[in-house]
Amino acid sequence: MVETPRAKSVMLRVPGWPGHLPGQHVDVRLTADDGYQAQRSYSIASPPAGPGEGSDHIVLTIERIDDGEVSPFLTDELRAGDQIELRGPIGGYFTWTGAAGRPLQLLAGGSGIVPLMAMLRTRARAAAPSPARLLYSSRTWATTIYRDELAQLAASDRSLSVVHALTRATPPEWTGQSRRVDAPMLRALAFPPDQAPELFVCGPTPFVESVATLLVDWGHAAPAIKTERFGPTGGPPQEESDGPNG
């Protein structure tokens, strides 16, 4: 399904899928007729199956990189019934289980929202989860992925707050943030260090570098800050890179 003009979610049936943790990814491998292969990694957007649910489907949300090799195939060419090779789930570091019972602070830049959405979708099934906050930076409202679902999650769960920061253009009557994430914005909106949150930062490298540094400077312990940086395999097209904050 189309999420935004540049992002599409794809549901894959994977017989024998062993289950996964939110935050993990899969490696997708495509093979041309002459044997040429290309592989890329994509975060899993869907939560793990709940008890009693069939668990052989996963959803990937793919942002189309214009001169990319794999993403345009997945967003433009892939049709229902096609078969692709994938491997996973992969990743034991950038995962969240909620077991620690600590507040959850999520910071997303662009398509970095995908693994964090898997975390929020998982959390939505918990009976009494710890409080969570998402600060989600995108260029425009039109390119903000999952915006309706995020609004619904926040509206139905008082322990979840979602704030969007748009960096290029805002719609009329915008009540969110309208600049890049900076120190005052974090202090106003994110859990402070003395609440010992688990922090997950995901997005293009300049976003992650900037936000992670701001969090450390604020006083969050470096080991509490988990990061996933999307390079050219998953970030926005190079020509649109806005560069680091400040």
């Binding site: 040429y36 990694s41 570098e209």
Partner: protein, 202 residues
């Protein structure tokens, strides 16, 4: 098994025999790290070689490291996340030169690289000797940037680049091959890109 409708684009930029399986060539230099970039001031920085019991075999301050015999290499590097970068230029102190400076025999067959921020990775000593590994402090003729591992990182280009540990502060010799950070998080214990040893069990 061919994927219906996939033709691929990048055929021209992979010189035959130079790019390991599953990799693509990039001109960029992506940054992938577990956690924030550590920043240690040079006047508090040091590098050590440690015996298995933690005893210091060698310790050098920043200026002392720069005074050791340096090597320059031009190598291809291969990240487990599929990108490869060809012809990268580095300057640093080889493992061989560090062992000469320490003036001791290698005490055990493996090392654990220990880094600011807590990152670790394990390697056989055999993969560091004979010019295969160095402590690199310059990339492309300039001081190594923090997000790429500066002030100094381990450089072991024949293995996947997570083994080229950023922000390295010590190599601790070990009697057996213990998994470091990524190795304990699902990645391969050795990491040979030519055998596509990306994940545990490959």
């Amino acid at each position: 098994m061919a994927t219906r409708g996939f033709t691929g684009k990048r055929r021209g930029d992979s010189p035959a025999g130079r790019v390991p399986p599953g990799q693509y060539v990039t001109d960029d230099f992506p940054v992938l790290s577990a956690g924030p970039t550590p920043r240690t001031s040079l006047d508090r920085w040091s590098f050590s070689l440690l015996a298995p019991d933690g005893g210091e075999l060698l310790r050098r301050s920043w200026s002392e490291l720069l005074a050791l015999p340096a090597s320059e290499v031009v190598v291809d590097i291969h990240c487990v996340t599929k990108w490869s970068k060809l012809g990268t230029r580095w300057k640093g102190v080889s493992f061989d030169a560090l062992m000469d400076a320490a003036g001791v025999e290698v005490p055990a067959p493996y090392v654990m690289a220990m880094c600011d921020g807590g990152y670790t990775t394990n390697l056989p000593v055999a993969d560091l000797r004979s010019g295969k590994g160095m402590i690199a402090y310059q990339y492309d003729g300039a001081p190594l940037a923090p997000e790429h591992g500066g002030p100094a990182r381990l450089l072991v280009p024949h293995l996947y680049f997570w083994k080229s540990a950023k922000w390295v502060r010590a190599l601790r010799f070990m009697a057996s091959d213990e998994p470091g950070f990524w190795e304990a998080n699902g990645y391969h214990i050795y990491g040979d890109p030519w055998k596509e040893q990306r994940y545990d069990g490959d």
